[in-house]
């Protein structure tokens, strides 16, 4: 299958010019990324994979998409990706951020509980469980944290006092931490069992109306408007990388509620919107630096490197299989230097701002100059099957892997002027480009 070259070949010297791009050339560059005001095909495809599956599409997936002549291919891709395992993996990572899934300080869920809780969250995403039902199951769960996964919601907080639980619950369901609802959590108790790190969440004696169920009733009653808007606000933030304007939020909220508080219809609505389909230049679609986990997965799948996740705390030590995707590392306490550098959230508070998607000097240093990445790229370049291919094919493959498109002639004039440059250098340029590091 061949790629539709019309997408990419511009035939101008625009890419070689520095600082003084003429209007005509600028238009040709735009044609790579935009079709009218809309994102071009390869870009639309890349965005959907990144936002739904948390990964860059494989070269074959891009080629399939470009070769697809059906008028509904964009909508079809949304449906297919939302039904994939990758979707459940990636979006459960997001939910685990706001639900503070980590074994260690200051949350202290401990490993067993992390895994049952993560599995429960992932099932909720995969089954598209209504958020309102999920909320009730988290707030009203009682019993063993090993047997009733939802009880871990109440345990996943730095302070288990009524005030702490009120702040946590109002953070999760209203994005507005307050101690106002402490009374509803005054009877919530925790007790250990003889099983190591098992904990029972139960209700202590007290008035029948001072229970978490009563808080849930408030969410469905007087607090309904805020509760309804909370999850759509997060979803819009995750996708557009900024807090939504009132109009966009009320639109998303009504779609969300009308569809029974389900995530997938809301996502479909957003992905089909003109705001989401806008091109990065004229359409001013907001760029977002890839999440730490997504970037790590991208680099590992491109270079074939193995991931490195171990946890020495708590004992017994945890080792994850090296092929485990970074977005699937359930435990926020299991981390590595790459994750810390690229702003994976600590999951201490459940606040959206804990995840940092801005770019820092340290990140650019790492990408420019990391010996690990250099070794990884050296290994990739000397891989037998890869090394046997002609240079031009190698370059095209790298472009497809990093940027989901083929090179434009004039780009090559810069980074591969004589057509036989060190493949690692070309990979270095692609890896350090804005286009790779951001969802544009």
């Amino acid at each position: 299958m061949t790629i539709d070259r019309r997408e990419f070949i511009c035939g101008t010297t625009a890419f070689a010019l520095l600082g003084s791009v003429s209007a005509a050339s600028r238009n040709t560059i735009k044609a790579v990324y935009e079709n009218g005001n809309r994102a071009s095909d390869f870009l639309a495809c890349r965005r959907l994979y990144l936002d739904i599956c948390g990964r860059i599409p494989t070269p074959q997936e891009v080629r399939d998409y470009l070769a697809n002549k059906r008028g509904s291919k964009y909508e079809d891709l949304i449906d297919n990706l939302l039904a994939s395992e990758d979707f459940a993996d990636y979006w459960s990572m997001r939910y685990c951020d706001i639900l503070r899934v980590k074994s260690e300080f200051p949350i202290n869920l401990w490993p067993n509980a992390v895994y049952v809780y993560h599995r429960r969250i992932r099932r909720s995403i995969a089954d598209d469980e209504p958020w309102i039902d999920f909320a009730r199951s988290l707030l009203c769960a009682r019993g063993s944290n090993f047997r009733v996964p939802e009880t871990n919601y109440m345990r996943a907080t730095a302070s288990k006092s009524p005030v702490g639980l009120s702040e946590t619950a109002s953070m999760t369901f209203l994005m507005n931490p307050t101690d106002k609802y402490a009374k509803y959590f005054s009877r919530v108790g925790f007790k250990p069992t003889k099983e190591w790190k098992e904990e029972i969440v139960y209700l202590k004696d007290g008035p029948a109306d001072l229970v978490p169920e009563a808080f849930m009733n408030e969410l469905e009653g007087p607090l309904r408007a805020e509760f309804n808007a909370t999850q759509p606000k997060r979803v819009l933030y995750w996708i557009f990388n900024e807090m939504p304007r009132p109009m966009a939020l009320s639109d998303a909220t009504s779609v969300f509620v009308r569809n029974g508080y389900r995530l997938k219809p809301l996502l479909k609505h957003i992905f089909k919107s003109s705001a989401y389909r806008a091109g990065p230049i004229r359409g001013k679609f907001p760029a977002r630096r890839l999440d730490a986990e997504v970037l790590d997965d991208a680099l590992c799948s491109i270079t074939g490197a193995k991931r490195d996740f171990t946890s020495i705390a708590p004992e017994p030590f945890s080792f994850l299989p090296p092929e485990r995707k970074s977005i699937l590392v359930e435990d926020g306490s299991i981390t590595n230097a790459f994750m810390l550098n690229f702003g994976r959230p600590a999951r201490d508070s459940g606040a959206l701002e804990e995840r940092k998607n801005d770019i820092t000097v340290k990140q650019r240093l790492y990408l420019y100059n990391s010996s690990k990445l250099w070794h990884d790229m050296s290994r990739m370049a000397t891989d037998k099957a890869f090394a046997a291919k002609p240079h031009a094919v190698q370059v095209d493959e790298l472009y497809m892997k990093f940027l989901s498109r083929s090179p434009v002639k004039d780009e090559l004039a810069i980074i591969d002027p004589n057509g036989k440059g060190d493949i690692r250098n070309i990979a270095w340029h692609l890896m350090n480009s804005f286009e790779f590091l951001y969802r544009i």
């Binding site: 300080f105 000097v361 010996s371 480009s433 544009i440």
Partner: protein, 406 residues
């Protein structure tokens, strides 16, 4: 005119070196030996007299010769026996599990407050070589203040600091060529993102400037390298000294291997000797270079170890966690040398005189480094927070370790 000294007035420590003995070193086999206690407390080992007059453990012969350069705190105390809570307290000064926010560690506090007086291109907070990991070192201060975690092995032929030292033996010329091309190449990556370009430009300056040289330990004389010991830890301290010379305000060495639950005496002898050689070399080297007055060095862990050895399996002569009475070393940067603060009982089971709390300990380091521990801690949430939660009023106690101030 204000009588308050400012950070840049030169009267404060310019740099701080933290040697974090992760796991909790034993007070008895370091700075609070009890040779006359029963055999189950000291395993029959003795103490030696230092050149300052006080006694330390016989495993520390080199530190015994330079005790005029440092002081010892023998009565640190707190109630937390688990690593993470104790570390949090001993790093932030805050009691864990009370407030729903994560406070920054001392390194992030001091480096963020001293940032405005620092012009270097290496981050003002450097960690050799691995992060503590059990909690976020910057807490709520945010990523901007996050430390540079070097990775790599300072005892290897090339100390590959990931990101700073160019890999693959590239020459400066090759690197410059790459950057020039990258600039052209990326010029058309629309839409432009100013933060992306700015960070890239700064990163380029670090790679091609003095920063990379700082980590090049091969620029040191062979004798100097040998003096610190050709060990991972020894060369880390040498790297720390080079970072002090560069001007980095806070350097933290995460020194693993002190959690000696099992076979304590067999496992701890070698690391203690390594520590003895490297720390004494660092202190004398700083002194010879006239840097000790402006460099504060502190060394401790999150707690000490149970004084009475547990002979039962599975411990087989091990020591478990013990926060009630443990030791630390402080030197330079406004601390005097040759002194001892606090007295433990005959076995180090309890503090006898002058208990020192972690917040008081950290507060003193802050003060000597020019950060007012009673001042406010800037934070993104804009709430009013103290640098250190020092007890006030009737409970204020000593507040600082003034006895050890020079």
């Amino acid at each position: 005119m204000s009588t308050k000294k400012s950070v840049s007035s030169g009267k404060f420590a310019k740099s701080v070196i933290e040697i974090w003995q992760w796991g909790g070193p034993c007070q008895l086999e370091t700075f609070d030996p009890k040779p006359s206690a029963p055999h189950d407390y000291n395993n029959g080992l003795k103490s030696i007299k230092t050149n300052a007059g006080f006694e330390i453990h016989e495993w520390l012969p080199n530190l015994a010769k330079c005790a005029d350069l440092y002081s010892v705190v023998r009565t640190l105390t707190h109630p937390f026996g688990g690593h993470e809570k104790a570390t949090y307290l001993m790093q932030t000064g805050h009691v864990p599990g009370i407030e729903p926010i994560t406070y920054p560690a001392l390194g992030a506090i001091i480096s963020s407050m001293k940032m405005k007086d620092y012009e270097g291109e290496i981050q003002p907070f450097v960690i050799l070589t691995q992060a503590k990991g059990r909690f976020s070192e910057v807490g709520f201060l945010g990523d901007f203040y996050a430390p540079l975690v070097t990775g790599g092995n300072p005892n290897a032929r090339i100390f590959e600091v990931d990101g700073i030292v160019p890999p693959g033996g590239l020459t400066t010329e090759q690197i410059n060529m790459r950057f020039e091309r990258a600039l052209q190449f990326d010029h058309l990556r629309l839409p432009k993102n100013a933060a992306f370009d700015l960070a890239g430009e700064q990163a380029r300056r670090i790679i091609t400037g003095k920063a990379a040289e700082t980590f090049d330990l091969s620029r040191e004389k062979k004798e100097t390298r040998d003096r610190y010991g050709r060990t991972f830890f020894g060369q880390q301290l040498l790297a720390a000294r080079r970072l002090v010379e560069y001007g980095v305000p806070y350097i933290s060495i995460n020194y693993n291997g002190w959690d000696s639950h099992k076979r304590h005496f067999e496992t701890m002898k070698r690391p203690t000797a390594e520590m003895d050689q490297a720390v004494s070399a660092l202190l004398t080297d700083l002194k010879e270079r006239n840097l000790l007055d402006s460099t504060l060095v502190w060394m401790s862990g999150e707690f000490g170890r149970v004084p009475k050895v547990d002979r039962q399996p599975p411990w087989n002569g091990g020591r478990n966690h013990f926060p009630r009475c443990y030791s630390a070393l402080v030197a330079g940067g406004g601390f005097k040398g040759g002194a001892v603060l606090g007295v433990s009982d005959d076995t180090t089971d309890n503090v006898k005189e002058r208990p020192v709390t972690p917040v008081e300990f950290l507060g003193s380091i802050c003060e000597l480094a020019g950060v007012d521990p009673e001042g406010r801690l800037p934070n993104p949430k804009g709430i009013e927070l103290d640098v250190m939660p020092l007890p006030k009023g009737a409970n204020a106690g000593h507040g600082r370790m003034k006895e050890l101030y020079a």
